[in-house]
Amino acid sequence: MSLTGKVYSLRRRLVALLVGVVASLWVASAIVAFQTAHGEADGLFDAQLVQVAETLLAIVVAGDASQIAHEMAEHQHAYQLPVAFQAWTRGKDGDWELLVRSAEMPEQLVSREKGFDEHDLEGRLWRFYAVDHDHGTYRVIVGQNHEARYRLAGEIALHMLVPILIGLPLMALGIWAVVGRALRPVAEVAAALGGLDARRLVRVTVPGPMPGEIAPLVRSLDALVERVGSVMENERRFTADAAHELRTPLAALKIQAQVAARSPDEAVRSHALTQVLSGVERMNHLVEQLLTLARLDPEAGLKADQRVELRGVAERVCVSLQREALGHGQTLEIDAPLPLWVAGNAWWLEVLVRNLVDNALRYSPAGGRVRVLVDASTGLLRVEDDGPGIPEEARAQMLTRFARGGEVDSDGCGLGLSIVARIAEILGARLTLRSGQCHSRGSVGLVVEVHFPVAGGNP
């Protein structure tokens, strides 16, 4: 895993998001409140207009207009009525004559309609209510500047906005703290991971309860740690095993060399020197096999992308091992009537066949017989020997590194079958070990079969 994108702070993002959402909700609700308040104020003020107009009309109809002006002025002063008014009467010629008006009102008729009307007056929006009496003898128009309504609605909206203006920073701080606290397990996991020793991987341990959102992350990490640990343990065991396997032949070389160096007996000396040579041979074989294993490592970069003809490989291997077989009085036969194309890599396949045949020869007695079969129709490679075989319960073990057939004398280093198993695994081939059918001298023999996934082009 690597950080490919931009790194951002979850905490900062959460705070910004939450504060943004809350602020917009509040602003929206303030707008709604303003509109609602405005609507309510409209109703309220309209009712007031109607009431004042009716009252005025009653007074105008009943009495003296100058009295009204005086009273209204007082009235207005006492109750601070935010209301302006005109009272008109129809003259004898049918024109409207102004009886009385408040100071804000002009001397012209401000509304020709009965009922509510809205229009500008000296650059400001007013709402008027006109009421007539006695079939148009008297008319009273009351008006009110819209500002009053806006002011009221604005005040209501502001009352809602003020707490949020103070509250938002506090809320941001609170969210910052809460989010930080909620994210603490993440920091703890990070600390626990940072504290892991690469050479001694253990499960991630975090003190305290674990939130469900982070638990899967920790579980995945634990699983990864476990897998890496098991791979490392395998490698460690292999290194230890390899050291062990190298030490014994080294010890043998050293002791034999010491015997050769100091024995006064010529026969003992020459025997020891022969043994030194044979020990070097064996070390060489072991080192070769170890190198082969190392090259089978996926990191070595070899690919199984070639099409390889297996019959040719088997024939080459058999020819090259023929001399060794004859040297031990063994018979090495190959039965491969048709070419078999398999997907793989020429080197791997040769290593596989060579190890199988070499193993068969190593574990077969002098005078024994090793048979190699390549069956193109089923994609099968079979190597069969005369040796002691491997008991069924020990077969799986034999495929691991450094396991040897225990009962027999052999110079094998115990890597052959594990190399074969590894190559078969890489090539997707199936490896089976079983006993041979019928053999003399109590040895059951071993049959190793490799079933290849058959590539196209075979007959």
């Binding site: 080294l250 043998a252 050293k254 100091r262 024995s263 043994q275």
Partner: protein, 221 residues
């Protein structure tokens, strides 16, 4: 000084057998754990050199069953494993000494001699009997300060007798200590060696216990 060597590796076993024989030990060599237990059951050995990674029966298991059976034979363990935990386990199971492969032949021989000495309850490496001194490491015998020339068999016989000073050793025990399996052995070879020793060291050192065997008297130091 008859040693049982248990080592499955053909080259190493062969080399150790030759090397230890050169250092004056009689070595019997077996190659698996079961054979080792069978040999220890059947015959007497003065020490056991035991490899741990053995077929058929693991070295540690051989050691454990040996100690469980009350066999106190000195055991020197050979192993390729150098982990401290492995060492501790080996020693706790009753190994007396521990050598990690690859090791030095001379050191192995010296440690074996030390093991045998401790097993005999001696701190002194040399065997001293009055004015007779036997040095097992140098394989030299001196009498009143003068070196006495002995054959290898005579030296080994004298050592076995001196180590068991005060006890009677039967002919069979002596022969087992002196001859490896497969060595040719004529019926009166032992008498011949005793005769030579008496001639070189004085006739009163080795006493014949009729019908039983031979004995060297204990001397107070």
């Amino acid at each position: 000084m008859r040693i049982l060597l248990v080592e499955d590796d053909r080259l190493l076993g062969d080399g150790l057998k030759a090397g230890l024989a050169g250092a004056g030990f009689r070595v019997e060599w077996v190659r698996d754990g079961e054979a080792a237990l069978a040999a220890l059951e059947a015959e007497h050995f003065t020490a056991l050199v035991l490899d741990l990674g053995l077929p058929r029966r693991d070295g540690l298991s051989v050691l454990a069953s040996l100690r469980a059976g009350g066999n106190g034979i000195p055991v020197l363990v050979l192993t390729a494993r150098d982990q401290v935990a492995d060492k501790i386990r080996g020693l706790d199971l009753g190994a007396d000494d521990y050598m990690i492969k690859p090791f030095d032949l001379d050191e192995l021989a010296a440690r074996l001699r030390a093991l045998l000495r401790r097993a005999a309850g001696r701190a002194e490496a040399r065997l001293i009997h009055g004015d007779l001194v036997l040095d097992p490491a140098a394989r030299v015998v001196t009498l009143q300060g003068g070196v006495v020339s002995l054959t290898s068999r005579e030296f080994d016989l004298l050592r076995v007798l001196l180590e068991a000073a005060g006890r009677v050793l039967s002919r069979r025990v002596l022969e087992e200590q002196l001859y490896a399996w497969g060595d040719e052995l004529d019926s009166n070879a032992l008498e011949v060696h005793v005769h030579h020793l008496r001639r070189k060291l004085g006739s009163d050192l080795i006493r014949t216990v009729r019908g039983v065997g031979y004995r060297v008297d204990e001397v107070s130091r």
